[in-house]
């Protein structure tokens, strides 16, 4: 019962309450929820531009890639520079070669022949011939004392040493005749006509002896100049004396004649020729086509061909010396050679010599040519000193001396051929050598993709003390030289006809000079600065290095054109062209600088509710201006570029102008004393908002730079920094909201 009492009433209440509670629970637990909308503000970096003096032109990180750009001098001052190496050029390849085939033929004439014979030939007029009717030793009377007609002709012994000799005229030498009065007679006068003992008895001289007493000897001579002496002579003798009576005459008495020759100078001899005096000759070989003069050179390769041929019937000794060549190891060792030549007989091969002289490792020394400092100088030459000695006729197989025929005009013939030379180095005087430097085409990428900047600043933006620096520290040429360089600056952003500017620069280069400055503080030439202020995006550098007397003799040359300078086989012109210019600015007219176009694309989404901007300006450059932020919707970037220009600022203005404050300038350093900063809040109006939400949106900053107060020094750290951040308010889930 109790169970039933408890359950029945309570269960109804509980059940009703439970059903109500459950129904309420189910009814309430079906929330209607969804995605709401809300506005969210996001702050985004909107635009940031650093108008740094470095970034105005280029960025430092372009240096490695482009071989140039902007770097800094000591103290941080900006320097524009571009370095471009030029290909190394071997200077001396052609100068150290002598390609010649100069041939010199010369005979060495044996010249006057000297017959210096010791041979003495004799004749005798006996007593019997002197005394007509001589009957033996006795006293005879001589009234008058004369040589009888029958005794006047006296044949002399033959010369063994010669058959014929033609004596030169004049001073050809004498024929000596000695008279020995082997009688007791005293001769007042004895006249001996000397004849060749041949048909017609041509007379070659007369000798007169005076007062030849008994037993006396007297020597006289006759000049044989122009005569022909032959081996057989005959004397026609006349004699007179005072003795008349009582003179004892022995059968052994007589007039005895002896004759000889001494140092007879002949131009023809047929006989036994002895060693003649040396004959010397000096000959030269001219370098016909060599304009470059060598003073001293080390021969790496070279040949001289010497051919010697004996054109005489005698044995000859030939000695040739070429003093222009000495051993590099021993400079006292002069190039020389000698030969023994046999007579020019048919079949004797030793009568000539062909010799090749290899001249490696020899020093060649030459004199500057005659008239080297005149307009018509002679050729350089090599001297040959020759000595020929006629040794004689030689001997036959049995050791017997050979009689030969020789004339004074006989000769030893020599031929010298100077062939190709290669030198390892030389000292010399070059005439005109031009070393072309490869043309350098420099793309100055410092302005890359910043054509607007170039266009904007051209004419207002100056680079001071620009210079071209030729770095030759790697070069080994030790000659003074003349550098001729043509530099063309091309700014393709300028109108046609104004794009190119060309200047030619000429500089003298001292031997060993490392650096050549053109323009800049070391060289008073403003043209480089003018070229650089053309703001080229392309520089073409072409030129050559000229060495040689033709250039060094120019009026403005500081060098002696005839001073020899060394050249080596490995001499190179190596180096680079460096363009550099410390940056100094002088903006003379207010200039709008157009930053690059930013393509935003579809613009901001339609959920954009509002936009506020905050610009923070920091300036360390002593110049001022205004910043304008402009934007618009355009079909493409090209159209946008044309439209978003300074002239249309008011039409497309989104925000601005933002005033760029000018910091105080230090009059000495021409830098800002300290940075100046400002913060500007910018409201973006409804019109601007409509632009920003349009499609194909392009945006650009324009910085209008006001004229500067004189020059401004450019330093790496100096810049106008403009940072713009934007707070944009979006409505999230706006579409659902709508």
């Amino acid at each position: 019962m109790s169970k039933k009492r408890i359950r029945k009433p309570g269960s109804g209440v509980v059940l009703v309450a439970f059903v109500a509670l459950t129904a309420l629970a189910f009814l309430q637990c079906a929330p209607d929820i969804g995605l709401p909308s809300w506005d969210i503000k996001m702050t985004l970096p909107f635009s940031q531009q650093r108008y740094g003096l470095d970034s105005l032109i280029s960025r430092p990180d372009e240096v490695a890639e482009d071989n140039g750009g902007i770097d800094t001098l000591d103290g941080g001052m900006l320097r524009f520079f571009h370095i471009e190496p030029f290909d190394s050029v071997n200077v001396a390849d052609s100068l150290l070669e002598m390609d010649t085939e100069d041939t010199t033929d010369y005979p060495v004439i044996v010249g006057t022949l000297t017959m210096d014979s010791t041979e003495m030939v004799e004749s005798r007029i006996s007593a019997a011939a002197l005394v007509p009717g001589f009957s033996g030793d006795d006293y005879y009377d001589f009234t008058p004392l004369v040589i009888p007609q029958s005794a006047r002709a006296s044949e002399m012994d033959n010369f063994d040493s010669l058959s014929v000799a033609h004596v030169i005229d004049p001073n050809g030498g004498n024929l000596f005749l000695q008279l020995y009065n082997n009688t007791n007679l005293n001769w007042t006068e004895v006249v001996a006509d000397i004849h060749i003992n041949e048909t017609g008895y041509p007379q070659i001289g007369t000798v007169t002896f005076y007062n030849v007493g008994a037993g006396q000897t007297q020597v006289e001579y006759t000049d044989l100049s122009g005569d022909t002496l032959k081996e057989s002579l005959i004397l026609f003798v006349e004699g007179y004396g005072n003795d008349t009576t009582g003179v004892y005459v022995s059968s052994e008495n007589g007039l005895e004649f002896s004759s000889w020759i001494n140092d007879l100078q002949c131009d023809y001899v047929y006989g036994f020729i002895g060693k003649q005096n040396p004959v010397y000759d000096t000959t030269i070989t001219e370098f016909e086509d060599e304009d470059n003069w060598i003073v001293r050179a080390y021969v790496e390769y070279g040949i001289i061909n010497v051919n010697v041929r004996n054109m005489t019937n005698t044995e000859d000794s030939v000695y040739i010396k070429i003093p222009s060549f000495v051993s590099a190891a021993d400079t006292t060792d002069t190039l020389q050679l000698d030969f023994f030549l046999e007579p020019l007989h048919e079949g004797l091969v030793r009568s000539s010599r062909d010799t090749i002289l290899y001249l490696e490792d020899m020093l060649m020394t030459l004199e500057l040519p005659e008239g080297y400092d005149t307009p018509t100088p002679a050729n350089q030459s090599i001297d040959y000193f020759s000595k020929v000695v006629v040794l004689g006729g030689g001997r036959d197989a049995f050791g017997r001396r050979q009689e030969v025929e020789i004339r004074s005009e006989d000769s030893v013939f020599a031929q010298v051929i100077v062939e190709e030379f290669d030198f390892d180095w030389l000292w010399g005087v070059v005439k005109d050598e031009r070393i072309d430097l490869d043309s350098i085409d420099i793309e100055i990428n410092s302005f890359e993709d910043n054509g607007d900047l170039q266009r904007d600043l051209s004419g207002n933006f100056r680079l001071e003390d620009a210079q071209i620096l030729i770095d030759l520290s790697g070069s080994t040429v030790e000659s003074p030289a003349k550098l001729v360089m043509d530099v063309t600056a091309i700014n393709t952003y300028l109108p046609a006809g104004e794009q190119e500017m060309t200047e030619q620069f000429i500089r003298w280069i001292s031997p060993g000079q490392d650096t050549v400055y053109i323009g800049g503080p070391n060289d008073d030439d403003p043209r480089v600065t003018q070229l650089m202020n053309h703001l080229p995006n392309q520089l073409m550098v072409a030129g050559d290095v000229r060495i040689g007397r033709d250039h060094l003799s120019e009026p403005d040359s500081p060098w002696d054109p005839y001073q020899p300078y060394p050249l080596r086989s490995d001499d190179m012109v190596v180096g680079s062209v460096i363009l550099e210019a410390p940056l100094q600015l002088s903006i003379e007219n207010g200039t709008p600088i157009h930053a690059e176009i930013d393509s935003i694309g579809e613009g901001f989404e339609s959920g954009l509710r509002s936009m506020n901007m905050r610009a923070v300006v920091s300036n360390t450059i002593p110049l001022g201006g205004q910043l304008y932020l402009i934007a618009g919707s355009f079909a493409n970037e090209s159209i946008a570029d044309n439209a978003l220009q300074w002239a249309n600022v008011s039409q497309y203005l989104i925000a601005g102008p933002v005033n760029i404050p000018i910091p105080e300038i230090d009059q000495d350093t021409r830098r800002a004393v300290e940075a100046i900063a400002d913060t500007v809040h910018l409201e973006v109006g409804a019109d601007a908002m409509s632009i920003l939400t349009s499609d194909s949106l392009f945006m650009r900053q324009i910085l209008y730079v006001e004229p500067t107060d004189g020059y401004i020094a450019a330093y790496e750290s100096d810049a106008i920094n403009i940072s713009i951040i934007a707070e944009v308010e979006y409505r999230v889930n706006e579409e659902d909201d709508e």
Binding site: V14, I40, T43, V616, D737
Partner: protein, 472 residues
């Protein structure tokens, strides 16, 4: 939008979760309709195939049906909750077309008490199960499906999403990090054995009427798994003369396997007893004492982006190219990696007492043993009661305290007609009805055959009738 824009993806994913999920999952456990009605204290009432997932030993008690089974579709439950918003607040702030005012934004943030906004959800569905006796033990074979997911969203991130980054914030870095997402879907094949002990008289405990022990083995087949186990991000803007500074970076690591690449085993153990003339029922179970799912062919996708300076506005019209040029996204895929996922482990201590015929009170103490997805180590105590207002209609309610849910309550009812028993339950967390910030709902249907009454006041009558029928 593609994976190449992870920032956008992550933002949208988190916002979607924030918007879509109005509640949180409570734990990795079956959201049984009757358990929801008991406020989480299913206690001592499961019998037959329903014991699986609670205490397998209950299958060994004498009052089990000879056979029971349940079917899909009508055995489902879910639990969703968050730690900040009630249903009313959700309706207040999250409405299509509503424009959040600044006060709304602040109110939303104020509702989030801690550093993070937590979302939890879980669902279970019984695909099929049957219990039956054998000569030695009672057995149950079950197939069920479980899904659970946890999310923690950094409050700073929500503040950033609502307020953005204003000019006043310039120079201040807004950072957010340690946002987590994890979800798992798996199917379990369970095999449960339970046996009643007859010789417990040796304990000489007259108060002990029945004693049983049970064990459940599971084969866990993982279907889906996803985890965002790392999220960091920050936003910073600063004007600077050398260039505006904008730092934006984020790093997200997502882990997911191929479909069906998870497998593992599970083990539940328990003991149960009826005491004091069967008016009291107690049970102790260890759930998922072994419980893992090993996922293979895991892909770890690391998405990151960073930008150290302000990206130019130019090129925004071609977003993909603009993103690639200005951001540094990471996209690292590591395949063939394995990932072992621990399932939540619990100790469950349950008790029930029949106050009188048709009136049962229950209590449950749950202690989680690990902090994994769906699990917590915060203890939870719940009590409930069931009253049979009609022999066919029970009503029940309950109240729980602790765990991740805080305070929750539930009500439920059902219908019992012959072998058919259906239940329904609905529960709320941290509030009443629409003031609650989480809710649970479940329905269940089980067929019991030859089921003795569990009500001890009816049990003797039952057994007497059984004996009489046997005697006849």
């Amino acid at each position: 939008m593609s994976w190449r824009k992870p920032g956008s993806l992550i933002l949208l994913t988190i916002l979607a979760l924030f918007i879509i999920l109005p509640g949180t999952a409570q734990a990795f456990r079956i959201n049984h309709a009757r358990a929801i009605g008991f406020g989480g204290s299913l206690g001592t009432t499961p019998r037959g195939v329903e014991v699986v997932g609670w205490n397998p030993a209950f299958l060994g008690l004498q009052d089990n049906p000879r056979m029971s089974f349940n079917t899909p579709l009508v055995n489902v439950g879910f639990r969703i909750s968050n730690d900040a918003f009630s249903i009313n607040e959700l309706e207040q702030y999250f409405q299509d077309g509503k424009l959040l005012a600044s006060s709304d934004k602040q109110a939303i943030l104020d509702e989030i008490g801690g550093d993070a906004f937590e979302l939890r959800g879980g669902a279970n569905a019984m695909i099929g199960g049957v219990s039956f006796p054998t000569n030695q033990v009672n057995m149950a074979v079950t197939i069920d499906m479980i899904a659970t997911g946890d999310a923690e969203i950094d409050k700073d991130f929500l503040e950033f999403a609502l307020y953005g980054y204003t000019l006043d914030d310039v120079g201040v870095e807004k950072a957010f990090h340690e946002m987590l997402l994890e979800g798992v879907v798996l199917t379990r094949l369970g095999l449960t054995f339970a046996k009643q002990f007859q010789e417990f008289e040796i304990l000489d405990a007259e108060w002990l009427d029945e004693l049983s022990a049970g064990i459940s083995f599971y084969y866990n087949y993982g279907l889906e798994y996803g985890s965002m186990d790392h999220f960091d991000g920050s936003y910073y803007v600063q004007e600077d003369p050398d260039g505006n500074i904008m730092r934006m970076n984020g790093l997200v690591q997502l882990i997911s396997p191929d479909f069906g690449k998870g497998s593992g085993v599970g083990l539940d153990m328990g003991v149960a007893a009826k005491v004091l003339n069967r008016r009291g029922v107690v049970g102790l179970s260890l759930l998922n004492i072994v419980g893992t799912v090993n996922w293979t062919n895991i892909e770890r996708r690391v998405y990151g982006l960073s930008v150290d300076e302000a990206p130019p506005l130019e090129g925004l019209d071609d977003f993909n190219d603009w993103f690639d040029e200005n951001f540094e996204p990471l996209d690292t895929l590591t395949s063939a990696d394995d990932h072992s996922q621990q399932l939540p482990k619990y100790i469950l201590l349950t008790g029930g007492w029949w106050l009188q015929e048709d009136w049962l009170i229950t209590g449950t103490y749950r202690q989680g043993l690990n902090r994994v997805a769906g699990g917590t180590t915060i203890p939870r105590l719940s009590v409930g009661t069931e009253y049979m207002v009609h022999p066919m209609v029970p009503i029940r309610c309950g109240l729980g305290v602790g765990g991740r849910s805080g305070i929750n309550w539930g009500i439920g009812s059902g219908i019992r007609y012959r072998c058919w028993q259906s239940d329904i339950g609905i529960g709320y967390e941290k509030g009443i009805f629409n003031s609650a910030s989480g809710m649970s709902f479940g329905i269940s249907t089980t067929f019991f055959f030859d089921a003795p009454p569990t009500d001890p006041f009816k049990t003797n009558t039952y057994w007497q009738r059984e004996a009489e029928q046997s005697g006849k």
